[in-house]
């Protein structure tokens, strides 16, 4: 077995974001790390929308990012710390639109290790050096400079190691142009490790240490080290240094040490200032719990600076420092606003705040004000004795604030993110869809969602109006070539033509010179300011002064089809003749003296647009009824000569020549594509050689069941092609590569581009008798998401065999349930405490829920209707119960009546995983599945983490035991049990009497149920320990599973063993077989192994295209959706794996990780080809492309075609 791994949706979680002028222009950009992918985002300061410029797979894990700029420079570089054991400096090159690796310095082993740097990065604010640190001990400093040719240089590393020191955080201290300084928050464990009494451990101090890079001596020295708060977790840089011109200090320099519950300002030999982190005035707050800062950003403006610090609840605090020269007078903190908890915050100079959420969608906010003059209470270090440091070991009096909706910020844009995907299903439920949808349970806590993902581009409709009849075509047209927007809409009906003018309103006009008594075949704004209408009996050329020149078709003939551009007109007559017209310099339309007889009825014609600065386009494509397409020359020397011919499988219905950029074919210039739509719904795309008019590199694609119509339009400023069949598709260029994506919209009968003042880049279409004007807002995302909000983190969801509802269990740790809240509030009220209801009523989607002590749970069972997109019912659990598993079981003892069984547990603790009691709740379905009625609860001794219907009974993984339950009157009845599992059963699958058990740590085990003897017997397992997260059966003997470290593996049982086990009627044979390696008597064989880089949360065997073959679809925690498709032939395997080998050498990772080592992170990669790497072939320079293609004995086109075919036939993406 060989598999091809392809990512359909790369991870959307943002691990870190940095801001800078990476293009070197004035506009600021954001580089985000998605863990395994780098993406450059450009927020538009005018519209406040974020656009993706490029995204690159790193084939490595990006652990830290930092932006830096050389002194006096105007361009920022990105430094990347990864698991490659290397430091990499990246430069964004706007010309090629790619990240260029400027430097790559190796310092250690690969892998995210304890003492190999890469975890933290800190840069000198003046861009002179960078420090890269590990989680323990190792810190390296590199000096950055420029050489004579102004190129960036990097020195050899200087060590600033400290043995047995755990590093919490490092930061560059702003010291102006003095020697670069770094601050580190460290704890030394060497003494605590030697002391059996534990006293030293309690006394171990957390040290704030300054490391100075002496540029003169080329050496790093420990400049200063002082103990600080033992619960400090983060450092924030405070501006400092003098301006050379004014001698004024930018700031006092030093650091803010963020600790639990307070923030301390520190610098060498100056008084400390301590301020509390304000807490929410919530009656439900846990007074024993501290608050820490998890994200921070400092912003410098002209002559001032401030900090925004975010607490773990999402509250932003504005911190300001009042200083005179270098002396700090006071440090102040006040509540600013509440936004989602961020992994990174970025402030842009144009007045935006980018919040990269740790889970869920990311946001761009616009600053409305800076919270300067409002009534928020401000807490200053001066209001406490000795600036809050009178007794550093005891906490400051608690400060409180009242959270409120956004006041200083306003949402400007939102980036959808699936992160985290906890569970998913692949099904085709929605009506009018021939491809399945992916339903995902996403998000964490109160921001969780249930999302329906459909492959296709989202369409935003702005106008939808009914017409008197059913038109068969629509066009828009300008009145002269220098107008910015369209003036008329022309609708062609069976017996006439309607012209509408576009203005304040859209209304019918009569005086355009167009013939209204006849249908229209084509319209065109021709020459400088003339209009052209082609109708079945002639061509009307309407000049600006409304004079009409009409060319009439000879008697007995009609025009069947036509194609036009600014200077050329070609019509095909019913007599299978082509008539060619060209505009002369006087603006007169002249017929070419000869007519070309085609010999077969012409069905479709197309010419491209006139190239810039030329008189004409030299090629005409003619599609004839005899199933051919001919390319005919329009060149003056060879006018109407046939140049090439392509045979088709069916008569063409539409042809469209378009010049579009596709970097895989030509990096610098648009390629001329001839798109041929057939009556069978198949689209052929061929490349037209601009020199000799030959057609090469044909690619085919099935679009739908109706004959295809092709229309050239403009989308986001670039030429694109709309292809209309039983679905509407669009072919467009995005990030220099060609894409072909369906539109999620009603079927259109015809469409055209539409441009008006309010809607400069729209499209107009007709669907039946409805005229629609719409736009395509985003072309980057190929999955349209529709979401339903959830209350708590989803845990599992299932479908029902008879209805289309989803049943989901959701639950959150450290959250009070509604029941617990009411009880607690009653208690507080009885104690006479005042309760601010306003704070309790704040929407949890924005503010989260108050944190409860560990062991507190809130949980729901939810019924979702995916078609209507709404929640049908919610059933909260009481008594601190939390649900972890769910199954629909047809109990045969009840005549196969379906029951819902939910596995819950009471007072669950996460680590170690225990509970007071587990329960199996059995529900009856009411109202066709829209309601539930609790029948009974069955107690269990551990948490039931996995449930499954099995032969008319319930199969349950309860802690370490696997059990089969049957239904009883008052309880479920335990029928059989196997307690031989090591850690905990977390997932189950079954076929026949075979059960596949996924253990939390001990991989996949094969169990058989022998009903005559009522035995559950483990007969095969894996030789390797695996921390399984998800699995599915590929066939009866084969299972695919994912583990917690981001691996995917396929295990197969020998078919002989399988038969032997199945033939054994009682299982006595298995029972008495000798165990191997202290496990089951048989071992499975690993067939394939691959490191995806994201924790797999679900697998599905599904076919993603109508009539396509089945593939494995997987989802990853960070929002990855990918597929694994089996190779069909040995030749394909050889071809693609040889290509992969070449790609490994030609396309080194941007973070310096070896791709082969990355894909074989824990176990060497086996029988899986990395499709993501192979697809970067399209981005290679042409010379490298052809070199690789030569090695493979193929042409570049063939390689690209093969890669596209792999993707399209498997996923349709």
């Amino acid at each position: 077995m060989h598999l091809y791994n392809l990512t359909l949706q790369p991870p959307t979680a943002i691990i870190q974001a940095i801001v800078g002028n990476f293009s070197g222009i004035r506009q600021q950009e954001i580089i985000v790390s998605h863990g395994t992918r780098l993406e450059l985002l450009r927020p538009d300061p005018q519209t406040g929308k974020i656009a993706t410029i490029i995204a690159t797979d790193a084939f490595g894990s990006i652990r830290s990012l930092a932006a830096f700029r050389l002194t006096g420079g105007t361009k920022d570089y990105a430094i990347v710390g990864s698991d490659s054991g290397r430091i990499v400096i990246l430069d964004y090159d706007p010309k090629t639109s790619s990240f260029v690796k400027l430097h790559q310095e190796t310092f250690g082993k690969s892998g995210a290790r304890r003492i190999v740097p890469g975890q933290f990065l800190a840069t000198d604010p003046k861009g002179r050096s960078v420090m890269i640190a590990a989680a323990e001990k190792a810190k390296l400093v590199y000096i950055l400079n420029r050489d004579a040719a102004a190129n960036l240089t990097i020195s050899s590393p200087l060590e600033a190691h400290k043995n047995s020191a755990i590093i919490h955080h490092i930061i560059g201290v702003d010291v102006g142009f003095e020697n670069p300084m770094y601050a580190a928050l460290e704890v030394d464990y060497s003494e605590a490790d030697q002391d059996p009494t534990g006293e030293v451990f309690n006394k171990t101090e957390k040290m704030l240490t300054y490391y100075e890079l002496d540029l003169g001596l080329n050496h790093v020295v420990r400049k200063w080290s002082e103990p600080t708060d033992p619960r400090a977790n983060m450092l924030v840089q405070v501006p400092g240094g003098q301006l050379a011109s004014s001698e004024r200090y930018d700031g006092p320099s030093g650091v803010l040490v963020c600790c639990e519950d307070h923030i301390i300002y520190r610098h060498i030999d100056v008084p400390q200032h301590r301020i509390p982190i304000p807490r929410r005035q919530n009656a439900l707050e846990d007074p024993n719990r501290g608050v820490i800062i998890t994200a921070a950003v400092m912003h410098k403006m002209k002559g001032a600076f401030f900090f925004l610090l975010q607490s773990e609840d999402g509250d932003l605090f504005k911190v300001t420092i009042e200083h005179e020269e270098e002396e700090v007078k006071s440090v102040k903190i006040k509540y600013f606003d509440t936004v989602p908890v961020a992994s990174s915050l970025c402030i842009l100079k144009s007045g935006f705040l980018f919040v990269a959420s740790e889970f869920g969608n990311h946001y761009l906010y616009q600053f409305q004000k800076l919270g300067d003059d409002d009534n928020e209470p401000e807490f200053s270090s001066t209001s406490y004795p000795s600036f809050g440091m009178a007794d550093p070991s005891s906490p400051l009096p608690r400060a409180y604030f009242k959270p409120r909706p956004l006041e200083n910020l306003a949402i400007a844009d939102e980036i959808e993110s699936l992160d985290p995907i906890i569970d998913s299903k692949v099904l085709n439920i929605l009506p009018n869809s021939d491809t399945p949808q992916i339903f995902t349970a996403c998000g964490r806590g109160s921001r969780s969602t249930f999302r329906t993902l459909r492959h296709g581009l989202e369409v935003e409709e702005s106008v939808s109006s009914e017409l008197p009849g059913i038109p068969n075509a629509v066009w828009t047209i300008k009145t002269s070539e220098d107008e910015a927007h369209d003036s008329y809409i022309i609708l062609s009906f069976v017996n006439g033509t309607l012209v509408l003018s576009i203005g304040e309103t859209i209304e019918e006009v009569q005086d355009t010179g167009f013939l209204s008594s006849s249908p229209t075949i084509a319209v065109q704004q021709i020459g400088a300011d003339a209009l052209l209408q082609v109708h079945p009996h002639g061509i009307r050329h309407v000049s600006a002064d409304k004079r009409v020149n009409e060319w009439r078709v000879p008697q007995g003939k009609t025009i069947v089809t036509a194609t036009t551009n600014k200077r050329q007109v070609v019509v095909a007559l019913s007599s299978a003749e082509l008539v060619y017209f060209e505009l002369d310099l006087d603006g007169q339309l002249n017929e070419y003296q000869e007519r070309k007889a085609m010999g077969s009825t012409v069905l479709a014609l197309s010419i491209g647009a006139v190239p810039e600065g030329r008189q004409r386009t030299p090629y005409l494509a003619v599609g004839c009824e005899d199933q051919t397409v001919r390319i005919i020359s329009l060149d003056p020397d060879t006018t109407l000569e046939t140049l090439s011919l392509q045979a088709l499988t069916a008569p063409p219905s539409s042809i469209c020549i378009a010049d579009m950029l596709d970097a895989s074919i030509n990096k610098s210039q648009p390629t001329m594509f001839v798109n041929i739509g057939l009556q069978t719904g198949v689209l052929l795309r061929t490349v037209l050689d601009p020199i000799n008019g030959q057609l090469t590199d044909t690619r085919t694609r099935f679009l739908g069941t109706r004959p295809i119509k092709l229309i050239r339009v403009t989308v986001h400023g670039n030429p694109a092609i709309l292809a209309l069949s039983s679905r509407s598709w669009i072919n467009y260029t995005h990030q220099n590569l060609m894409h072909f994506t369906p539109l999620i919209y009603d079927n259109l009968d015809y469409a055209w581009s539409f441009s008006a003042e309010l809607n400069p880049e729209g499209l107009i279409g007709i669907a039946g008798n409805v005229l629609r004007i719409f736009t395509i807002p985003k072309i980057g995302t190929k999955l349209k998401q529709d979401s339903i909000p959830l209350d708590y983190t989803p845990r599992k969801m299932i479908t029902h065999p008879e209805n289309h509802y989803f049943y989901m269990v959701e639950g959150d740790h450290r959250v009070y349930s509604e029941e617990a809240i009411n009880k607690k509030l009653k208690e507080l009220k009885s104690q006479g405490k005042k309760i601010d209801q306003e704070i309790l009523d704040l929407p949890p989607t924005e503010f989260g829920r108050p944190k409860a002590p560990a062991g507190t749970w809130a949980s729901n069972i939810r019924i979702i209707d995916p078609i209507e997109g709404k929640t049908v019912g919610v059933f909260p659990l009481d008594n601190n119960e939390a649900a972890f598993s769910i199954a629909v079981v047809p109990f045969s003892a009840r005549g196969s009546e379906l029951h819902l069984v939910v596995g819950t547990s009471q007072d669950t603790t996460v680590s170690p995983r225990t509970c007071t009691t587990g329960f199996l709740r059995t529900y009856k379905f009411l109202n066709d599945g829209a309601g539930l009625e609790l029948m009974h609860k069955t107690e269990t001794d551990d948490v039931p983490m996995a449930l499954l219907a099995f032969q008319g009974k319930l199969l349950a993984g309860v802690g370490k035991s696997l059990r089969i339950y049957d239904i009883g009157k008052k309880k479920l009845l335990r029928k059989v049990e196997n307690k031989m599992f090591t850690t905990g059963i977390i997932t189950l699958a079954t076929q026949g009497s075979r059960i596949i058990v996924g253990d939390m740590q001990e991989s996949v085990q094969y169990v058989v149920y022998k009903s005559p003897e009522n035995r559950l017997l483990t007969f095969a397992d894996d030789a390797q320990p695996r921390w399984v997260t998800a699995l599915t059966m590929v066939d009866y003997n084969t299972v695919i599973a994912g583990d917690r470290f981001g691996n995917v593996f396929v295990n197969r049982l020998d078919s002989k063993v399988s038969d032997q086990v199945d033939d054994d009627p009682t299982g006595a044979g298995i029972l008495h077989e000798k165990s191997i390696l202290m496990g089951a008597p048989h071992k499975t064989k690993m067939l394939a192994h691959f490191h995806v880089g994201d924790i797999i949360t679900s697998f599905h065997k599904a076919s993603l295209v109508a009539g396509g073959k089945e593939v494995i679809v997987y989802t990853g925690l960070h929002g990855t959706i990918g597929i694994l498709l089996p190779f069909v032939s040995k030749e394909d395997v050889d071809f693609i794996s040889t290509l992969e080998q070449h790609m490994r050498t030609e396309q080194p990772s941007v973070v310096g990780r070896d791709q082969l080592a990355w894909r074989g992170y824990y176990v060497p990669v086996k029988s899986v080809v990395d499709g993501d790497l192979c697809e970067t072939y399209a981005q290679l320079p042409a010379a490298k492309q052809s070199a690789i293609a030569n090695e493979l004995d193929r042409t570049v086109g063939e390689v690209l075609k093969k890669l596209e075919q792999m993707r399209v036939t498997a996923s349709g993406f």
Partner: protein, 87 residues
Amino acid sequence: MSSELRYTANTQLEHLHARYTGTGHADLSKYEWITHQHRDTLASILGHPTLASYLAIADGEAIGRVRFEMTERMLQPCGPPPRKEDD
């Protein structure tokens, strides 16, 4: 054993141990071994963003909090060392 170690085993060993924290040796006690294991694991969780997210979701805490508590735990992940027998 690398060639570096083979010829200069004793003289270099101590130096190498100091250089590569977490490397085991013949006289390693159970406590030292398990402490190294835990520290390595904690560092690995910090270093792999997906693992940190995974734990944060399970525990209902912010990723920042999970990272902080993990780093704190690196100080003494397995409690104080056992008393030496000759004490």
